[in-house]
Symmetry: D2
Subunit: 395 residues, 4 copies
């Protein structure tokens, strides 16, 4: 199976158009580094910024020709859609409130889309995109990076094969520290996250809570059916929630709990989950992504390890380096891009690649719903139902 390292024989390559990602857009650089790592993608077109000079500078640095450096994503969708060498996929890395329009335009132009998380700011928009993607049968994905870690996929497979018995309780925490600094000193990067006009309905919940929620559903293959949230602002001057606690119920009766914060000093990117089953408990921490901890009734704990011979097929299939030569964050994102390459190659059958489903627009919708329903619950101080939806990969 091809992995990040294998480069002989050559992999099939895909051309990319980028929306967003000029100088100063930190995560766009990470996306491009992950693409380089795969050896499957070439950026060939783009509108890298609403500021023309910034966009041109990016195009030049990335080797995009002036003809394919566009002023607006509307221009780009139109022009690319009629080229014989049109881009294979559009990668959308603009700020949150500028996701919907480009996604819609490129799908309408017949071009598959990879969109940064969160997908959009309202569930209505998300549903509109889902309809569009279903009608066009085009590949469309949301980059929930943490689902690219091999040990997260290994955890998912172990839950599915019953290694922890029946799932009883799903715990996740995602804590960051950056906002705990004097907020008056926050740079532009931080402040927009507290601005409802840009970040959307929620702060911490939308920014990191959605990742946490997504990983619980991904690993457990279960859907949340109800929740009770308390969103709080602990840092003066921040315009949205910086901390949230969500109690959840999952289908089949499992309980869940989510705690997220942007203002927890000492936490850099502190995502961790603990899935309690009737026979064992699985734990994983993003900052030590190479191992998965299985503890069992009265017996020795097991430390599973990326690259070991006892990995599940689902985990092993996205391993690139041997055990002991650690992989990390960039590899996880690159694993998603490897999936995207397979999906693009598969065309309309893109949902059937591999054993691990792609995090698609439906998952993007659920992230948006999480924000909307948590706000409702937090305001009413009441439990709220959460709409069920199909499982990944289900028709």
């Amino acid at each position: 199976m091809p992995n990040l390292i294998s480069d002989i024989p050559a992999k099939r390559r895909f051309t990319v158009g980028m929306i967003g990602g000029g100088h100063g857009s930190f995560f766009a650089g990470i996306h491009r580094a992950a693409m380089r790592l795969t050896g499957c993608f070439d950026v060939k077109a783009g509108v890298f910024s609403s500021n023309e000079a910034v966009s041109r500078e990016a195009a030049e640095a990335l080797g995009v020709i002036p003809e394919r450096t566009y002023r607006t994503f509307r221009d780009m969708a139109e022009a690319e859609s009629i080229r014989s060498d049109k881009i294979d996929v559009a990668v959308v890395v603009t700020p949150n409130h500028l996701h919907y329009e480009p996604c819609r335009l490129f799908l309408e132009a017949g071009i598959p889309v990879i969109c940064d998380k969160p997908l959009v700011n309202t569930s209505g928009e998300a549903e509109a995109l889902i309809d569009l993607a279903e009608k066009t049968e085009l590949f469309a994905a949301v980059t929930y990076t943490y689902t690219g870690y091999p040990m997260v996929r290994d955890a998912r497979a172990r839950v599915q094969r019953g290694e922890i018995g029946e799932v009883k309780f799903l715990y996740v925490e995602y804590l960051l520290e950056w906002l705990a600094n004097d907020p008056s000193k926050l740079g532009k990067g931080g402040l927009w996250r507290g601005d409802p006009g840009k970040a959307g309905l929620t702060g911490a919940l939308g920014d990191v809570g959605t990742h946490a929620f997504n990983i619980l559903e991904f690993v457990s293959s279960k859907r949340c059916v109800a929740l009770n949230a308390k969103l709080s602002t602990t840092v003066d001057g921040f315009g949205l929630d910086d901390t949230g606690v969500v109690q959840m119920e999952f289908e089949g009766g499992a309980e869940g709990l989510l705690w997220c914060s942007l203002a927890a000093p000492g936490h850099r990117n502190g995502l961790r989950f603990k899935i309690v089953g009737s026979k064992g408990t699985l734990e994983w921490r993003q900052e030590q992504p190479e191992t998965l901890h299985l503890s069992r009734m009265g017996q020795a704990d097991l430390i599973y390890r990326r690259g070991a011979s006892d990995m599940t097929e689902e985990g092993a299939s996205c391993v690139s380096l041997p055990a002991g030569n650690p992989e990390a964050y960039l590899e996880a994102l690159a694993v998603l891009y490897m999936d995207y390459a397979s999906a693009l190659e598969a065309g309309p059958n893109w949902r059937t690649i591999g054993k691990t489903p792609v995090t698609d627009l439906n998952e993007g919708l659920r992230g948006v719903l999480l924000s909307e329903i948590c706000v409702r619950s937090s305001q009413t101080k009441m439990w709220q139902p959460f709409p069920k939806s199909r499982m990944w990969g289900d028709p």
Copy 2:
């Protein structure tokens, strides 16, 4: 300062009467081992079981003379109260529903009381005992063992001196696995915990949730003012909650979260807390009690260690062994008994010993209130207020 090891010069010794603790009572043996460790207590009287033969066997093994081996705790309270060499303190280690009566009788008989946790099964009983203790000015304590760990006291002192800034979020989890086994195979020891007639209003919450709640209030020096609980039974056939989640609000606006379970495979005695402040976060785990983890904004984490020269005075004052020669559970309980010895020596001024307050009947009451209020919240699916009370050591 005397510690568990120091035995020259001799420490002052106190005579103990035990209520409960015959053969088969596991935790009574732990209490006596802790007392032996202190070198301050001698069991001289008791009613060790409602079964006379069991009680006599225990008396013999413990060297208690027949004259002071009683048939009922009522007999014992009466007889001891008029002896010239009456016991200095009564230690109550009966099952939960048999705490109230002996506590009441001994206090009325003018004898101080040390009672196992939870104090009693209703807040009315707890309040009655508090009134009695205040009237008699007698020492009375509830054994919240985990408050005896040096690094827990160190954590409390560090919070008080502002090392993590303003307290923002209090997280605690307390997970055990024993109930996850086939419940039909549970021995007598387990089943009574699911029997409302014996265990009280709650199962997991009363058994371990109270410890978790107590340690949050102890470490933060803050009081819970409202909560929203969801109590669940995940194991078929268990008569009470085996799992609980409690969202909390603390005075001054801090948020809190408690998760407890008796049915989390892979967890033996998994109590851990994380206190998030505006400048740093403190974490401690009962199964690795020798260290306290302080993580800070963008800087190296600190691993504080029992016995190191940079401990707080509050923590250092209950250290017995040098750093590197680990202490553990028995030492923690023995630290409480060292406190009790100091308290007994202080007489009516017992509240003023040392910097760390004794976990007294008021803390016992709050444990009982926790069960009552969580049941109300869980049934109504609503937030409920939690009565404020004086802080430890406050008049």
Copy 3:
């Protein structure tokens, strides 16, 4: 099986005479705390110091009557040997150079002996004591505390049952920090350890290297047959080695490596071993004594835990508290004293108690030989043979 907690029915009790252990003798207090914990020993006689006032103070604190508070250990051996209630065992906790004489006198007086480690300062003395003990068939033991940890015994049993295959490499390190401080500020406690007249031939090697060596032989059930040592003094003004490295060969061809130091800042009592076999590797750390780490070829690591149901019989038989309620250093020493109680009860058959052999005078001899042979190797810069001897428990 009786353990530290079980006290009903009563255990058989033994009377103890102490040699050494007056005020200021730190480790004597630890020995007494361990004895208290067992509930099997009562100090009834002693010469607690060469300073009469100090000795009397100790006797009083410990409840030893004046008649049995002796001026010299010669007086004590003579007087006790003819009492009808003579002590069951003499516990020797004097400084190293005062071990030989009391051990000899008590054995000659027909009284079993428990001696602190290192046994004596020359192999000739050790051999004389061995001869005496064999002739008299009296119980005699050396307190290698670390062999009392349940997970160390569990490790030994796992090696014996072939869980790691054939033993290939034995690594141990034992690092402390105290000497790294400005040595001019060392108190009396430290300075004698660098004084050849008191500490013996070696410094770090005799003080902690012997523990490290003992634990390797104990866990592997293998004997060192040759070694190549380099002893160094890294702290100016210390009169003996403060650091040592010893390459070793074990019977059957296994390799070994020992590193010890008294001057390694950041290490409190840093004893850890790693036993590499053909199928797996076992690791244990004294500062986290509750777990034993087994790593295997290409498979999940196993974390064995004290108190779990998958412990070996040898490990489980010395467990007192349930898993999750941690045990530590005092319990380990108390486990040895539980063994000693069994041995005293067994009389001449004391070597056959239980599955784990007592660390006897022969092990004491090997510790002394270690110092002598390492000095020879370090001076000649050559490999030196190490005398083979019988295995624990062998006739």
Copy 4:
């Protein structure tokens, strides 16, 4: 400062010729992935295998034109040296015994060289290459990957600035497990490592011991001056040492110890070091490369973290991702390639780039000397002097 992620503005790019690295050459793929990650290198020429078909397949996959796909490295050196667009650097990833010739030829042809580790198989060859590189003033480096980890560089800087006081003891271990399998089942990949004709003088020592030795000298900025080695074969049928222990002396009197093995089950790529100073101890583990552990006399341990604001300049300058988004092995190798890009840009002044010196041919020589001197020591069972050489970056 440019890092792996920054791609706007564009970085200067260099053309690469590869010697070795056809299909089946695992580490060549890793080198190319690291180059892709930097965004600074393009493979434009090569002889990828002695097998022409294999070489052509690689050329095609990598987009190398037939004209620059050569049959021998002699042909390649000649042809490239006279092209106007000749390669900027030759990357040598052939098996060990085929390093010398291509390095020599390319340096003679005026083309800088990056050579996989170990440099060559005899110190004579290494010295010849050093002479050549000095004469030509060409950049030449050996890829000691582990020196590219930010926290290794951070450790080096902390030692240099005196954070642990005077260096006293240098410990390193490097353990792998692959050979512990039934050696009769070893594939071709493994067997050549035990073949003196291909692997060189030593097995484990040359393969991993050299990395371990290099990292000690790199982190401490100290040179080994004498050693005493014991090389062993613990796996039947392996033609060279699979296990080694090396005692060392460093300039200025520090002691050292190295343990390496290819046959330690449970170890995947187990490189870790511990540097003991007079004031503190630094520890780092390759499998958890994001943190550096500083333990100190009687004070809290510090866990330094990649990306934190308290990193040293030397460490921070090679960071690409924010703390919490972990980096790992590929990033470490890519950091070396970033250095190489800077060095190629600097031309004859390449030694003066940055604060961290490039691991050059002199370090390659020391790796070869390590094998030669350890063999001599192991055979004679005697200490042997180790030639001093200039420090990195020294003229």
